[in-house]
């Protein structure tokens, strides 16, 4: 047996083999040790990559219903995270910088008059450039963006890092935001009775921070944002107010006959009996193209956020009205109640209080009837 001869019979063989084995181990351990730095760096890079991957999955299942699958926020529901504002990108940085350096040069005593004229000409140019830039950002400005307050963290006076801002928001939520948003940012950390572990929150944070484009943010990114950190109070609401005033004038100083958010269902039914719904106008209202401006289509688009518009009437007939608590209800009754009193019944698996409860104050009986008429056309078959 050769192995026997090699390993056992001669003492010298054992000594040599043992020595070679020890030396080889020594070299190998040394080799591993030399490569440790590179290995640890590679591990960190791969690990943070996989952390982002896991964060993306968690974001899809936990955050996207409000913040959008693309992270651009949902109108009147939750702010965008894929937003230059969160990462503090200043689109006018170059202009501001040049202007301030020119302005200080202008004040220097040694500046010649010729140079002063040059500077003033350039300043005027910059003014035009800024106006042009601002013009490009107009869609975002309409949604409440202010080009001079370009950093959310600075606005809030947050002195720590963006990572900590995102992470702590995840950990403890934003309980105060309930006075502002229809649904507050909930608590996510298990330490505060939320559903997610610390490492999962880190994963989500890594994913959110991966939206940072650094210097490569474009105005298109800005304009694509659906919702900035504040519910847009200026244009939409102002237009709505103006429209109401117009209506007021047309009606000879009498306010339109709003349904009223607190009106009981029976009264609403009585009111609806006097009007006939127009599905075409209902479609316009539904899609935010009528007056008042309604955000229905923003959420009732995909089933991950809210029950989709498509097939509404089929579901009302086949599912909802079959439930014991709606025995004796008609479809009109169910729909009007759902629009005016959204919390009376929430479809299972959707959160309560996401749908605003003030539609009664915005809609006339005619508006409500038009909406219902439109929804009745949404027959799946």
């Amino acid at each position: 047996m050769n192995l026997q001869r090699l390993l056992v019979n001669r003492m010298e063989h054992r000594i040599i083999i043992g020595t070679v084995a020890f030396l080889a181990t020594l070299v190998l351990v040394g080799w591993v040790a030399i490569n440790e730095g590179g290995r640890m760096t590679a591990f960190d890079r791969e690990f943070s990559a996989r952390s982002i991957e896991r964060g993306a999955s968690l974001f899809i299942s936990n955050c996207s219903p409000c913040h959008g699958t693309d992270g651009r926020g949902t109108l009147a529901i939750a702010p965008a995270l894929d937003s230059p504002l969160l990462f503090g990108h200043d689109f006018l940085a170059d202009i501001h910088k040049e202007r301030s350096s020119l302005a200080s040069e202008l004040d220097l005593p040694e500046t010649t008059d010729a140079r002063k004229d040059e500077i003033n000409a350039r300043l005027a140019e910059l003014e035009t450039e800024e106006a042009a830039q601002t013009q490009v950002m107009q869609p975002a400005i309409d949604k409440g963006y202010n080009p001079d307050e370009f950093s959310r963290l600075v606005d809030l006076g947050w002195s720590s890092s963006l990572h900590n801002f995102v992470y702590t928001t995840l950990v403890s939520g934003r309980p105060v935001s309930s006075s502002y948003w229809p649904q507050p940012m909930p608590v996510w950390s298990q330490t505060a009775n939320g559903p997610l572990r610390a490492d999962q929150l880190e994963d989500i944070t890594a994913f959110v921070l991966n939206w940072d484009k650094g210097d490569n943010w474009t105005v298109d990114d800005l304009n694509a944002v659906n919702q900035f950190p504040k519910i847009p109070d200026d244009p939409a609401v102002a237009a709505q107010l103006q429209a109401q005033l117009d209506l007021l004038q047309q009606a000879g100083g009498v306010l339109p006959d709003y349904v009223g958010a607190d009106t009981p269902p029976e009264t609403i039914l009585t009111g609806l009996a006097d009007v006939t719904g127009d599905p075409q106008r209902g479609a316009q209202l539904y899609n935010g193209q009528g007056t008042p401006v309604l955000p229905c289509s923003g959420c009732h688009l995909v089933a991950s956020i809210a029950p989709p518009m498509e097939g509404t009437w089929t579901r009302v007939q086949n599912d909802r009205l079959q439930l014991p608590q709606f025995a004796g209800y008609t479809g009109d009754e169910y729909l009007s109640d759902s629009i005016v009193h959204p919390s009376d019944y929430v479809v299972p698996n959707y959160p309560d209080k996401v749908m605003p409860s003030n539609f009664g104050d915005l809609l006339t009986y005619q508006d409500l009837a038009d909406l219902i008429a439109y929804l009745k056309t949404q027959d799946q078959s």
Binding site: M1, L3, Q4, L7, V8, M11, R14, I15, I17, G18, A21, F22, A24, T25, L28, V29, W31, V32, A33, E36, R39, M40, A42, F43, D44, R45, E46, F47, S48, A49, R50, I52, E53, R54, A56, S57, I60, S61, S64, P65, T69, D70, G71, D82, R197, A198, D199, Q200, F207, N210, W211, K213, L301, V302, A303, S304, P308, E310, G311, S381
Partner: protein, 606 residues
């Protein structure tokens, strides 16, 4: 007259001269340290010469020294070859110490709490120099130890060394095998990843089957420290792993080795008359002394073993670490450790109590009782045909059961789940989904379908176009009248698509092409269960350097019995029809995200 007020080394120097005094001093220190060997004796031993003084000084340390009193002063020449021991006993012992040392090193960086255990693992990999190295050594050593101890038992059986008077040695050895397996198993949980949690959950669930019910339930509670494995369970497994079981192991290692020495290593069967045990009566010319023969041999074996372990962990083996343990999600394809696969395989035969508890207990009791049942005196191979046959049958059963314990065997998951898993599975058990190792740049955003590969190569583009037309015309509406786009838009997919428009895979994305070819192959294999089925892969890029891969499978439902499609006389599956007599279209989907830096294609198992 002494130089100092008491007798000292200086007196020696004065008396004998410096050189001689120093030499004698060293000689004395060496003799005391070795409990009997002076420099001259040592050098004679190293040179391989017989001892020049009597009584033989090389025997002295075995009588006077602590360490060597545990070891015999000489072995029979017949047991010092490769055969009959193969050094498996010595290697088992070496692994006990190897695991103890690497284990203590790991304890430096480990806290047994669910909040931090996994983070500890990560920091071990990310900031501890040689952290991965030590962890790999410990894990590989643990698995190797189970194997070596098992082989040691097999060897003992085949040489008949369990027979009288070594029955009790065998018994303590069986205990050591059990302790080894349990040590390895209890260590499984500590990294607190998904593999750990669910492999141990499955293992612990077997204990729950112990009859009667109240015993099983409470044993399970005692072990887990709660209804399922959480902080208490982790702490208990940790304590078992680092304290209780090692303590038992060391005690019984002592018992076992004491018995080995008392009876001496049994000689190869052919060297003794039947019924004789001459291991203790070693003729002078057959003696191989411990110093230096056995000692060099033992050190050589641990040198070789260590080298093999280091080579393996440097290039070929890394201890697995999956995602953080999640008690609320069981990953697909979870299995117990490989050395418990035989129990898992047995469990697939039926009753949990019978196969999960009674069967392993019977096996262990049979092992323990074997020396008392097989009382024939002969150790000759030729006389033990029955015993060998039984053993070989049992070994075959063990291998067969282990094979049956594999997650692939006899587990009927629906075809769609299996395919989704085979495409997207996270790295686990050295496997990962076929789409993961594709280099990032080959994941070209777009929509691709297996229909491209179901067709002949020259008709591929036409097949894709045909599918697009079919979808545009409203085909493949899924149950309830919804469309694939709507299905994708709903949770949990939540992928908003403007349209479904498939294209052919770009020619330079060879690995993506291979992935889809594999996908099509799976669809074809399962075409009985998934009638008119086809699959799609949609790649999007939701963020910079982050791509999302969605896999969609859609098919017509067929009649299924016991997880297999029912076939008619022509060997075709039978579609399930709705009330209008139409086929029922099913769809399933899963997705994953791939980051540019994730480097799955470099991971083991890629």
């Amino acid at each position: 007259m002494s130089v100092l007020p008491f007798p000292s080394f200086l007196d020696d120097v004065k008396e004998k001269g410096l050189r001689r005094a120093v030499f004698e001093g060293i000689n004395e220190v060496v003799e005391r340290a070795t409990a009997g060997l002076n420099v001259q004796d040592l050098r004679e031993a190293l040179r391989g010469e017989p001892a020049s003084r009597k009584p033989n000084p090389r025997l002295q340390p075995h009588a006077d020294g602590f360490w060597l009193h545990m070891r015999p002063s000489y072995f029979h020449k017949s047991v010092t070859g490769l055969y009959p021991t193969f050094r498996l006993g010595w290697l088992s012992t070496y692994f006990v110490f190897f695991e103890t040392i690497t284990g203590i090193l790991l304890m430096v960086w480990y806290t047994p709490a669910p909040e931090v255990a996994y983070t500890n693992m990560l920091s071990m990999l990310s900031v501890v120099p040689l952290g991965q190295f030590v962890r790999d050594l410990h894990r590989l050593g643990a698995e190797a130890m189970v194997l070596i101890v098992f082989l040691h038992m097999l060897r003992t059986f085949f040489t008949g060394s369990y027979k009288k008077p070594r029955e009790f040695t065998w018994f303590s050895g069986v205990l050591l095998l059990i302790f080894t397996a349990f040590l390895s198993f209890s260590g499984y949980l500590l990294p607190w990843d998904q593999l750990a949690l669910w492999a141990v959950t499955i293992g612990a669930s077997m204990i729950e089957a112990a009859p009667p019910e109240i015993v099983g339930t409470n044993l399970n509670l005692l072990l887990r420290g709660g209804p399922d494995i959480g902080a208490n369970g982790l702490l208990r497994f940790y304590l078992l792993h680092v304290l209780a079981v090692p303590a038992l192991l060391f005690i019984f290692l002592g018992v076992h080795y004491y018995k080995v020495i008392i009876h001496a290593h049994s000689l190869p069967p052919r060297e003794e008359n039947i019924g004789e045990d001459t291991a203790k009566r070693v003729p002078l010319d057959r003696r191989v002394y411990f110093t230096p023969d056995i000692l060099t041999s033992e050190i050589m074996w641990i040198a070789i073993t260590t080298l093999i372990l280091v080579i393996l962990v440097t290039w070929f083996y890394h201890a697995p670490l999956e995602n953080h343990a999640d008690p609320q999600v069981t990953p697909l394809g979870t299995t117990a450790p490989w050395y418990f696969l035989w129990i898992q395989g047995a469990l697939k035969l039926g009753d949990k109590v019978l196969w999960g508890i009674i069967f392993p207990t019977v096996v262990i009791v049979f092992l323990i009782a074997m020396p008392y049942l097989d009382v024939s005196k002969t150790r000759r191979w030729a006389h033990r045909r029955v015993a060998f046959s039984v053993a070989l049958v049992l070994l075959s059963v063990l291998v067969l059961f282990s094979y049956m314990g594999l997650p692939e065997f006899g587990v009927i998951n629906s075809a769609d789940l299996t395919i989704l898993h085979s495409l997207l599975q996270e790295p686990a058990h050295n496997h990962m989904g076929h789409l993961r190792p594709i280099p990032y740049d080959q994941l070209v955003t777009g929509m691709y379908t297996t229909q491209e590969f179901a067709a002949n190569e020259d008709e591929a583009a036409a097949a894709v176009a045909a599918l697009n037309t079919e979808i545009a015309n409203g085909a493949y509406g899924i149950q309830g009248g919804s469309t694939l786009i709507n299905f994708m838009a709903t949770a949990p997919q939540s992928l908003t698509l403007a349209s479904m428009n498939f294209t052919t895979v770009p020619a330079d994305a060879t690995q993506l092409r291979e992935g889809l070819e594999f996908f099509e192959g799976e669809m074809k294999t399962n075409s009985n269960e998934m009638l008119n089925g086809w699959g799609a892969v949609i790649i999007t890029e939701p963020q910079n350097n982050l791509k999302r891969i969605d896999v969609i499978i859609t098919w017509d439902e067929v009649q299924v019995e016991n997880g297999r499609p029912v076939l008619d006389e022509n060997g075709n599956s039978i579609p399930v029809l709705d009330e209008n007599g139409n086929h029922i279209r099913r769809v399933n989907s899963d997705h994953t995200f791939i980051h540019r830096d994730a480097q799955y294609f470099e991971a083991p198992g890629a």
